[in-house]
Amino acid sequence: MGIIQPPVTRSVSRIKPRGQLEARLRNTREAAVTGVLFLCAAVSVVTTAAIVLTLLGETVSFFQDVSPIEFFTGTKWTPLFTPAQYGVLPLLAGTLLIAICAAVFAVPLGLITAIYLSEYAPRWLRAIIKPMLEIIAGIPTVVLGFFALTFIGPDIVKPLFGTSQIFSALAASLAVGIMIIPLISSLSEDAMSAVPLGLREGAYALGATKYEVARRVVVPAALSGIIASFILAVSRAVGETMIVAIAAGGTPNLTWNPLEAVETMTAYIVQISLGDTPQGSLEFRTIFAVGMTLFVMTLAMNIVSQYLLHKFREVYE
């Protein structure tokens, strides 16, 4: 849809010609309004530039002291101890471990909820469930962190797996999973709702059951939108901070065992911000290097997700 242009009034208003001064005033005012509005829109571009420049500047100065090879391949992250070691892999592994566990838990649940809402649920039930999912999506993450620490950890993970630890990657990732379920279900449902009704009707006319329509027709037709929602959800899980800062423990740990305590990149940034590390020191600059890694990871996932959504819209909208 193009933007509607104002009609050219000069030649039309013959009855009472507009005064030249008035017309000029009007044009100036219009130009000023356009300029101010453009500046508002430009704030977002400036924000992005500022994020990139800030992270890049601090990261470059960090890499003058620590070699990128050590940063990306080192397996020990101990910037606050001597000898200080700056291998980001433990933090990266912690982040991925939590994101993957959360996805394993949330992707099937979110997808099935979406299928239910889009294909099965009667309208009145949708009207109840959707706002509830929105409420879950709106729960502050510090609250979910509290929930993970005081309930999921001691009352679910401990009895189920017989561990004795207070903190575990699993408890945190279950809470992260709760956080991303609404995201997956609402975006996937949007994608499924956009699948034309004719496709479903065709399948029903051939005698397919509801399940067959959902599995063989709707889900494949909405696949790129659904996958986009998965990627977006994983990206959200990677960037999630408070849940993991509270419930995952704070020990950089290169492990794939979800029952151990781990530290993620985001939780590390929080840990340093809370501590009394002097600003400007090498230890403090680590959070920008870690932040840059985080930013690049999530940005890449968001771009892929948007590309998929864009392709999906091209097909159906």
Partner: protein, 293 residues
């Protein structure tokens, strides 16, 4: 019954069984998600409801869990939300108006648009790093309410812009054409006709964006909001704390009494959020009713 008929019926039975089984799985999964919400609320209420009282709301934090309260945090949250709204709402609305009503269709516009979607996906803690480098250090606002609010404003800006764009897009073109037909200029058309028509939708988006900002913790910790603040801010340049940070602080202490305080703080926070969301849903429903009538 021939063999092939029998096979058909067996297969039909299996297919119907699968369909039934799947619909049961669907309902269970959906209910599970809802049940989690229920468990969370019950869990928090059973821990913290006893602690919620006027004293709790009107006391400063204390070493003694029984005397501690959320006065400083609540005032900090109010200050921060007010400044965030003052900064983010006009800019967000302006950006949305520009993109929907003014922007030519060129590469710059699509760069801005793509950029806004990307910003919406940047982890909040990264905004905290930006706030730390830009507002706290470069502009030297220190760890003030203003620095926190500006950081938060940048964080919610994409949310406000996207919501406002959607409600501007929902305004029918006939309104724009009618305004031009009676000789309105573009800005008159936009500000006298289109924006008022889109206002309920914009307000809904603003409320939802602010309720996101109220619950955000990580960026404020990153810019260095304090954990223990026994005073309320009196100017935008004062140090501050907010409700989620106070909750985080109590959660991270091992004593049971502080955990109860955290739960009580969560109850207050959720009550505030629920009120804001109800207002947003109310506005949305009214808006939809108006649009239909």
């Amino acid at each position: 019954m021939t063999i092939s008929e029998r096979a058909f019926h067996r297969r039909l039975f299996l297919r119907r069984g699968t369909a039934l089984g799947f619909s049961i799985i669907c309902i269970t999964a959906t209910l599970l998600a809802i049940a989690v919400l229920g468990v969370l609320l019950v869990q928090v209420a059973s821990k913290g409801l006893d602690r919620v009282s006027w004293d709790f709301i009107n006391s400063f934090p204390s070493r003694n869990a029984g005397d501690a309260g959320i006065k400083a945090a609540l005032w900090g949250t109010l200050w921060m939300m007010a400044i965030t709204a003052i900064v983010a709402v006009p800019i967000g609305l302006g950006a949305a108006i520009y993109l929907e009503e003014y922007a030519p269709r060129n590469w710059l516009t699509s760069v801005i648009q793509v950029n806004i979607s990307n910003l919406a996906g940047v982890p909040s803690v990264v905004y905290g790093l930006l706030g730390l480098a830009l507002f706290v250090r470069a502009i030297q606002l220190e760890r003030s309410v203003l620095a926190g609010a500006l950081t938060m404003a940048l964080l919610v800006l994409p949310i406000i812009i996207i919501a406002a764009q959607e409600s501007l897009r929902a305004v029918p073109n006939s309104i724009r054409e009618a305004a031009y037909a009676v000789g309105a200029s573009r800005s008159q058309m936009v500000f006298h006709q289109v924006v008022p028509a889109a206002l309920p939708g914009v307000l809904t988006g603003v409320i939802l964006a602010l309720s996101r900002a109220i619950g955000e913790t990580a960026p404020l910790i990153t810019i260095g909001a304090l954990l223990f603040v026994p005073f309320t801010p009196h100017s935008p340049f004062d140090k501050f704390t907010v409700l989620p940070i106070q909750i985080f602080n109590w959660t991270s202490r091992p004593q049971e009494a502080f955990q109860q305080n955290a739960a009580a703080g969560i109850i207050v926070l959720l009550a505030v959020l629920l009120t804001m969301n109800s207002v947003a849903i109310f506005l949305r429903n009214r808006f939809q009713a108006n649009a239909r009538g």
